[in-house]
């Protein structure tokens, strides 16, 4: 009996390598082709003689300057970094309060934040846009940051509440006995201890906001204030007129690179973070 089942799993293995290897090769080839094309000329792309005339780095220069991807990259970096920072500053104390303080309505507030995770963005865009229009916040830096922070709060509170709940309560008791106020107990004791969870959350929020499309599209799709995603989309839309394939592929690589680097460095952390979060859900 055992012989039979062992040989069965053995026959799956070559098939597994074939399928998984094939998939990997496809990804590498596709990304590699786009990379190589971004360094060629448009004519070479169409004739299939990539890189015949050497490396055309001017495609990238064009994408970064004329197509403003350099500016948009900076925009995205500012929007996302500020938003992620502010989210932690607001969500961490709230999560701490929800998990460590006993008060009436505690469960109500927690459920409220949880429900925020389930509300689709579609329900929010129309009134928020109308409100922001009246407040002159459309197409501005603060406008999008408020949006980004607001939409990140429910998940961040949920994530950190779970973490804080798992810590022993003696920690802040000890701090308080030493004469700390609640604020000091949190920022000087609990917050530093939460570093691993905070870092994971920062990575999540960063990636999620960096890849945002809907909010940026509605709130900052102007020539100066777009995010990188919108900038590359603009190149795609202009393709009808410019026909600059090489330049477009350069734009794609620029867009792809930051997340790819993050991926190479942090994939294990990201994956374990997701599985931990999903298990809790």
């Amino acid at each position: 009996m055992q012989r039979k089942s062992r040989s069965r799993s053995l026959t799956i293995r070559p098939f597994a390598y074939l399928v998984l290897g094939g998939w990997t090769l496809f990804v590498i080839y596709a990304v590699g082709w786009i990379l190589v094309s971004s360094l060629s000329t448009t004519r070479e792309i169409f004739t299939g003689n990539l890189l015949d005339s050497g490396f055309h780095l001017e495609n990238y220069v064009l994408a970064l300057t004329t197509h403003k991807l350099g500016l948009y990259f900076l925009n995205s970096l500012i929007y996302v970094s500020l938003a992620v920072f502010l989210t932690i500053v607001i969500a961490a104390p709230a999560a701490y309060a929800l998990s460590r303080f006993r008060f009436r309505g505690r469960h109500l507030f927690y459920s409220m934040f949880m429900s925020g995770m389930g509300i689709p963005g579609m329900m929010l865009i129309i009134p928020l846009f109308m409100l922001f229009l009246r407040l002159n916040l459309v197409g501005t830096l603060p406008g999008l940051i408020i949006i980004y922070v607001g939409t990140s709060i429910p998940f961040s509170v949920f994530f950190l509440t779970g973490f804080f709940g798992s810590l022993p309560s003696e920690l802040e008791d000890a701090a308080m006995i030493d004469g700390c106020t609640e604020h000091q107990a949190f920022w000087k004791v609990m917050f530093p201890i939460a570093q691993p969870a905070i870092i994971t959350l920062v990575i999540f929020n960063f990636i999620g906001l960096w890849n945002d499309y809907l909010w940026a599209l509605i709130f900052v799709n102007t020539d100066q204030r777009r995010t990188l995603m919108l900038g590359v989309e603009a190149i795609m839309r202009a393709m009808r007129y410019t026909g600059n394939w090489a330049g477009m592929f350069a734009g794609i690589i620029v867009l792809f690179l930051p997340t790819f680097i993050l991926f190479v460095l942090l994939s294990e952390k990201i994956i374990s973070g997701i599985t931990a979060g999903a298990v809790k859900a």
Binding site: I12, I34, I126, F129, Y213, V232
Partner: protein, 304 residues
């Protein structure tokens, strides 16, 4: 109240208040307002010109052909796409668990598309893989001598929807896969050993051990999948960057076109009230599906 309790309450307030205020502003207010607006004709985004229309708004919407198409599209994505995606996830989970080397590497590669901005993915597929002149699929099929397959015009109106569905499912496998894999890792191996000794084959083990014990994980991923497809916006919208085609309309894309279309795109008339009505319908769908799926899968914790 003693000073300690008072300072404690003050601290509590300061810790919690910013998040709560922001939540009410970002979620509670828009939720109520959207529902409210859905019953009015709203002429422009300044929101000053409102005419009450009540349920007529919803009725008109349901009878709009483009809206019906958009619903048909997400239904197909949810059902056909869902079957393809979960099938692929199960296949990969079996392959990855068959004792191969480099499991973590392959898992990360499959997850990669989930991390990459949607524009990059869409551009990769529509501008390269599906390209009629120098595309990947065309080159591969031609080299293999499959002339008929090489001739497929993936970006044409007929194939547009299916091309998009393929690319979308391809990119979506990763996220579900790592959650399912994590769930599988929590199943004790002794159960499999016992089953093997009893003579169970690998597929039988799958059916009687893996699937039942994965029920919670499957429930969560299925709920997320459903919610994701009901609200699907980014991928289809980017697939046809200039103007949406019939094959890439989803209710969310339609919502965007009729609410923000005049501002950013080439649509001529805005009907923001209808947009709000679509949003309300999507929310209702999300609630219904979540409820039904949770019911179907049951919420008991399985002890093992």
């Amino acid at each position: 109240m003693g000073t300690m309790a008072r300072s404690r309450n003050r601290a509590l307030l300061m810790f919690l208040a910013p998040a709560v205020v922001l939540f009410l502003f970002m979620f509670a207010y828009p939720l109520v307002r959207t529902i409210h607006l859905s019953f009015f004709r709203v002429a422009d985004l300044a929101g000053t010109d409102l005419t009450f229309r009540g349920l007529k708004q919803y009725k008109e919407l349901v009878h709009t052909p483009l809206f019906q198409t958009s619903f048909k599209n997400i239904f197909l994505i949810w059902s056909v796409g869902g079957i393809a995606l979960f099938g692929w996830v199960f296949l990969f989970s079996m392959l990855l668990n068959s004792g191969i080397k480099g499991k973590k590497f392959f898992r990360a590669i499959i997850y990669l598309p989930n991390l990459v901005p949607a524009v990059a993915m869409v551009a990769m597929w529509t501008q390269y893989i599906y390209h009629p002149r120098f595309g990947f699929l065309k080159t591969v099929f031609k080299t293999l001598g499959l002339e008929n397959l090489a001739k497929i015009q993936w970006n044409s109106a007929d194939m547009l929807f299916w091309g998009m569905l393929l690319a979308y499912v391809w990119g979506g496998v990763g996220w579900t896969l790592i959650i399912v894999l994590a769930g599988m890792e929590r199943i004790p191996t002794e159960l499999y050993e016992a089953a093997r000794l009893d003579g169970a084959s690998v597929p039988q083990q799958y059916r009687h051990i893996t699937l039942p014990l994965l029920r919670d994980v499957l429930r969560v991923t299925f709920v997320f999948w459903s919610i994701g497809q009901i609200n699907l916006f980014t991928f289809p919208k980017l697939w046809t960057p200039v103007v949406p085609q019939e094959g890439t309309y989803t209710p969310a894309v339609y919502l965007y076109q009729i609410s923000f279309g005049t501002r950013y795109e080439a649509t001529s008339t805005a009907d923001i009230g209808k947009g709000a009505a679509i949003a309300v319908m999507l929310l209702l769908l999300v609630l219904i599906f979540s409820f039904l799926i949770n019911r179907l899968f049951g919420e008991q914790e399985l002890e093992f």
